[in-house]
Amino acid sequence: MPVSEMLFWFLTALALFSALMVVFSSNPVHSVLWLIMVFFAISGHYILMNAQFLAIVNLIVYAGAIMVLFLFVIMLMNMNTESEPQKSQWMKMAAAISGGALMLIMIAALKDNVGAVSKTSGEGSIGLIKNLGNVLFTEYVVPFEISSILFLSAMVGAVVLGKKESSKIVS
């Protein structure tokens, strides 16, 4: 088994396990940490697929910025205990069954795919920063600029929500 393949399996296992742990840890902080683990694993996959740019972005944006934000919020709310009440068993069963069914169906439907992903880095330089940056600022400049609206609105939104206005709570 080539190294890349071994790495693939390792990362896959790591990702899945960490993902499961995200769901199953009762401590929110642990969940966050496990999720960061997933992101690392996924970044590993990106690197395996020669998508360095995304790997880096994933680490910086997701594992770095976003997850820190999460962690920050959780800490802010003082939720680092295992105090979360559990959903009803019925709901859990239903969730597991429907989730399993969905997975089964999707896998059953997609199992016959023929197609491959190259593991060598030689032929595919598209994932490099240089390449992507070039394309992003030429061909994709319109969506790029438009997504700035998104950020603007997110920013304004966060401000709107964050501002303290009145303290009277209406229920």
Partner: protein, 114 residues
Amino acid sequence: MQVMPINYYIFLSIALFTIGIVGVLTRRNVIIIFMCIELMLNAVNVLLVAFSKMHHLNAYALDRATTAGTEAQLFVFFIMVVAAAEVTVGLAIIVMLYRNIHSVDINFLNRLKH
């Protein structure tokens, strides 16, 4: 040339996606639910990158100078961008709610029904 069947990636992605969904369904902590949604988005990202590489490989066989597959990687980039924006707003909402009810339990969100 070393290749991996695309199916592996598909299965991985599906598995992650499903785990995310199950998490959304089973957890009561809003933040964790949100995290599970992020997990789903990441599953999609993995899939997109894998497809990007697959298409690139296919095109590469015909044309060495191909840039096929770039768009998917950029798409992933945009997903991350959007996710970041979403998180900003999402967390703002969660904090706002927490300020009001001092809880992030989703089961408490039942004033609006019927």
